[in-house]
Each structure stands twice: as C-alpha cells, then as structure tokens.
Symmetry: C2
Subunit: 138 residues, 2 copies
C-alpha cells in the first residue's frame, strides 16, 4: 500500500487552549463528546475507545505537547481486511483572537475504504459539535 | 455462560406501523437513524452495520414479520474476549391509538459487560430519538 487518504475537520472554539486541551485529554470529558475510554495523557499509553453500540477501537498515544498537539493511533481490527482500519488521529490547537482553532486530522484510510472515509468525516463533524456543546456548558 | 442481560428501550411514535417498518427495513433510511449498512429484509441475509468512526458490526436477519416484528444478530468480534459481543436485537411494533409503540430489545450481554450494557442503553435511546426525528421529516 503506497497511498492513503486523510480526513480533516476543523473548528473554531470560543475558549482558551487550556480548556480545550482539558476536554481532549480528561477521560470523563472525552466520554462526553467522543467515546467512553481508558485514556491517559502519556506517550505509549494504550487505551480503548468504546462505542455505545458495542464496538471498540484500539488506540495508543503517540505524541503529546500540552495545549498544542496530540496524536494517537485509532485502529479497528476486523477479520475482514476490507473493514480493518489502521489510522492516526492528530489534534492541533492554535490560539486565535476569539479562542482556539482546533484541527483534527485522521490519516491512514486506504483508497478502497470510501465508506469508512466518508463516515469518519461525518463522525468527526458530529464529535466536534459535541465538544463545542460540552465546552459551552461551563 | 448461563446468564445474560437485556437492554430494552421503548418509544411511542406518532406514525402508522407501515411507516415505522419502512424506516426499520430500508437501508437508506436505516443509514439515517442507525448506521450505514447493506441490510436486506430476508431471513438469513448477512449484513454489516458500519459506524462513522470505522467500527463494524456483523449481523444476520433472524426473523421477519412485516410491520410487526424483526430480529437480527448484532455481533462485535474483537480479539479481546472482554469486548466481544454476541447479541440479538428484536424490534416489536404495536399499533396504538396515536400511532405505533416500538419496543427494542437487545439480548446477550454478559454480566461482566457492564460498560457495553450501559452504552447500549444510551446508544439505543439516541438511535430511537434519531428515528423519531427522521419520521417527523416527511
């Protein structure tokens, strides 16, 4: 495989980077906008994201720069290779005049994984919408 | 394993059973309220439900009584048995004075799968909320 595709979803959040970072890295907050999880903010930490419908993703923290950048693997292991996904999610935070610009990039979709790719785009838009609503709460 | 737990979520929908049944069994409508899929309304048909975040469920139509009842398996295969799920989802439709009473039952959670069980309860509430909103559209 020499090629892969990347989903990018961006959002301007009217909150300081420290507050956005907290929501990206505290398990009980991640559970509110993303999925239930046993995340810990440590490079090398392996964790799972668990969907409400019984599905589970296998993840590992790859990079971590507080309040600036974080990446983790986001793998889905299925017996049918067509459904297997090995991807990397990277969040980048940039301060703006009104708050924080958040960029989410998920890289690693194979060219034949059109449905997973389209689904991820829709999924991340919803996740970041959830995040915005969560941050607005307090 | 001699014991299992069942999630039940019910909802009164202000629409006739024929319309609710359509949303439960037409793939493009199921995609709107549940997940992308290659469902077909035939006993024995195997299909997948695909989550927006890359996860996939393995399913098979088990029973089908038009406008009254349908069940399908809802399995998640993970290398870690703690996360594997073998379950059966059953929808039952009952006409009421104002429309249709829909009952969703998902059976097969092991007693140790507390998180999957709790997640399914939350997930189905959201799915049936989506269904209600979809049906209200036309």
């Amino acid at each position: 495989m020499t090629e892969s595709r990347t989903v990018v979803v961006e959002r301007d959040l009217p909150h300081p980077a420290a507050k956005v970072w907290r929501a990206l890295t505290q398990p009980h907050l991640m559970a509110e906008w993303l999925m239930k999880n046993d995340f810990a903010p440590q490079v090398g930490h392996r964790f799972n994201l668990r969907g409400d419908w019984g599905g589970v993703l296998d993840c590992e923290v790859l990079t971590l720069e507080p309040e600036r950048k974080m990446s983790y693997s986001w793998d889905f292991n299925h017996e049918d290779p067509a459904y297997s996904l090995k991807s990397v999610v990277t969040f980048t935070l940039e301060p703006t005049e009104s708050g924080t610009h958040l960029r989410m990039e998920q890289a690693g979709f194979r060219p034949d994984q059109k449905q997973a790719y389209g689904g991820a785009h829709a999924g991340w838009k919803q996740f970041l919408e959830n995040l915005d609503q969560l941050l607005a709460k307090d």
